[in-house]
């Protein structure tokens, strides 16, 4: 089992994801430079947070043209697992691998804080170690996390049960008061139609070590590892 963390110029959570995967989970992990055209033998690709190309035009707008993104697209087409975190989520929507777009936060400002998330669907490679409806605590840190999709697209996403995480309060309640950024339908993370591409604004890698306050995020990576393990055995 092998994970790859993509490095775009301006990525700044690449080291953090790498650390959690290789040191905390202890899985084989490599960096994937944005110029690579071939992802090689990889089982899961992480697009980390940060400010690729400074987010200078729109978050993720320039990174999506990196050579590696064509490879990521091919990988995803073949069913490979892709996780876009924060800026990675923005890149995935810009590249069309996930629907919608991430607008500036409702308040217009950057927000860094812990948020509560309700796990909406555990029948995916990314959430199998959560229980349905469970409330978890994972931090966000973004200026553009206000998810928006056309009403048709949002309806489809909801109908297909593709929202994995919603912002909520400590008891799982949702609404304006518990939505930090104005995100449509309290969306914090969604998956693709084929259920192998996850985009989420919260940073699971920041909630993967007890020393830093929460280990809820670690289960996202652990779910992926478990799923990959099962795939391998299933294929035997």
């Amino acid at each position: 089992m092998k994970f790859a963390v993509v490095v775009f110029p301006g990525s700044n959570c690449d080291h953090d994801c790498y650390h959690v995967l290789s040191e905390v989970l202890g899985v084989d992990t490599v960096y994937l430079w944005h110029k690579e055209q071939d992802v090689g033998e990889i089982d899961c690709i992480i697009l980390p947070g940060g400010f690729s190309y400074g987010d200078y035009l729109r978050a993720g707008a320039i990174a999506r043209f990196s050579p590696v993104m064509q490879a990521v697209r091919d990988f995803a087409c073949k069913g490979g697992l892709v996780v876009g975190i924060c800026n990675g989520f923005q890149i995935l929507t810009e590249s069309g691998l996930l629907p919608g777009v991430l607008l500036p936060n409702r308040g217009g400002r950057f927000i860094c804080q812990d948020v509560y998330l309700r796990v909406e669907n555990t029948d995916t490679p990314f959430t199998s170690l959560f229980s349905p409806g469970e409330v978890v605590k994972i931090p966000i840190a973004h200026q553009q996390g206000n998810y928006y999709a056309s009403s048709g697209a949002m309806e489809k996403i909801n109908n297909e049960n593709r929202v994995l995480f919603r912002y909520c309060g400590p008891e799982g309640e949702t609404g304006v008061r518990t939505n930090p950024n104005g995100s449509m339908d309290d969306v914090a993370g969604i998956i693709s139609e084929k259920r192998n591409v996850l985009g989420l604004m919260p940073h699971p890698e920041r909630a993967s070590e007890g020393m830093l306050g929460s280990v809820d995020g670690k289960r996202v990576f652990q779910s992926v590892a478990k799923w990959l393990e099962e795939q391998k055995h299933g294929n035997k």
Binding site: Y53, G54, Y56, L57, I62, F65
Partner: protein, 90 residues
């Protein structure tokens, strides 16, 4: 009367525009190699109530000077037009 003001804000000449440089480089990578330079700016549309066009234009200029534009590094141009069918979007 209702007016629609358009404001285009650009960086003064000589002020460094990192976004412009980054966008230019991205265009080159996408093989728009004919691009020699890109400068970025901001744009505002302001729906406002005013007695007449002259008044609207005067107020719009004041808005620019006081808030929309940072005179230390930016300059702007603006104009107003009657806005009949603008829906108040916000």
């Amino acid at each position: 009367m209702k007016f629609l003001g358009h404001v285009t804000v650009t960086l003064k000449r000589g002020v460094f525009d990192p976004q412009g440089v980054t966008v230019k480089n991205a265009l080159h990578n996408l093989s728009f190699s004919e691009t020699e330079a890109v400068r970025t700016g901001k744009y505002f549309e302001v729906v406002m109530e005013s007695a007449n066009p002259a008044e609207a234009e005067k107020r719009l200029n004041e808005m620019c000077d006081r808030l929309l534009v940072n005179p230390v590094i930016e300059c702007y141009r603006c104009h107003v037009e009657p806005a009949e069918e603008m829906e108040s979007a916000t």
